[in-house]
Symmetry: C2
Subunit: 119 residues, 2 copies
């Protein structure tokens, strides 16, 4: 499967999912699948989160609390789930506030081995 | 209930919970309840996460994706759930990697109105 097919499958199978982006730590997106006209918003979100993830990774290293696997964020309007793919890439899934957060986490986790294989 | 009683109740009711800290954005903890001899680790964790949460809040404001409510982080060794209490404070709950993450999120969310009342 291509990156886009893997991302599309996750977005299609999660209620309330808006889009998913495979992203490099250098802030450049590799591929994405985004519903409707939200592409610019999700791309901006992914870039903005790149610096946050770097910061969190640094903190995790300082604290020696193991290998970072997942980061999630909820606001009153949206949910973001981020899963580390490898040293260079992460995948970000954006959901509406009433989206299925549990399924989002589960399917994003399951997509990681597929993304690694496709890289 | 006192802060400590509220935090103790959450930690006691979640399988795998290690400790909870009520923390100011200035990096000073107000109160905590931490199991056994892990006090220094959890305090350090809370201080380290203060800068991350500030960073995330700033990103959320930039992106105009609503009011930040919750941040969670999973490593292969631990889980952290953070819930915003108000403009000045947040509450952090640390769990082991096999702890009950769903219940942690639920009970931490429920503790927020109690903490607001006690502040």
């Amino acid at each position: 499967m291509s990156f886009r097919e893997i991302l599309k499958k996750v977005v299609s199978d999660v209620d309330g999912a808006i889009g998913a982006v495979l992203m490099g730590y250098d802030g450049i997106s590799i591929d994405d699948f985004i519903q409707e006209d939200l592409s610019d918003d999700i791309q901006l979100l992914a870039v903005e989160y790149t610096s946050i993830i770097k910061e969190v990774r640094r903190a995790v290293e300082v604290l020696k609390t193991g290998q970072m696997e997942e980061l999630s964020l909820a606001t009153d309007q949206s949910r973001i789930v981020i899963r580390i793919v490898n040293e260079d890439f992460f995948v970000l899934l954006a959901l509406s506030a009433d989206g299925n957060f549990g399924k989002a986490r589960y399917l994003l986790k399951r997509s990681v081995p597929l993304l690694r294989e496709a890289l």
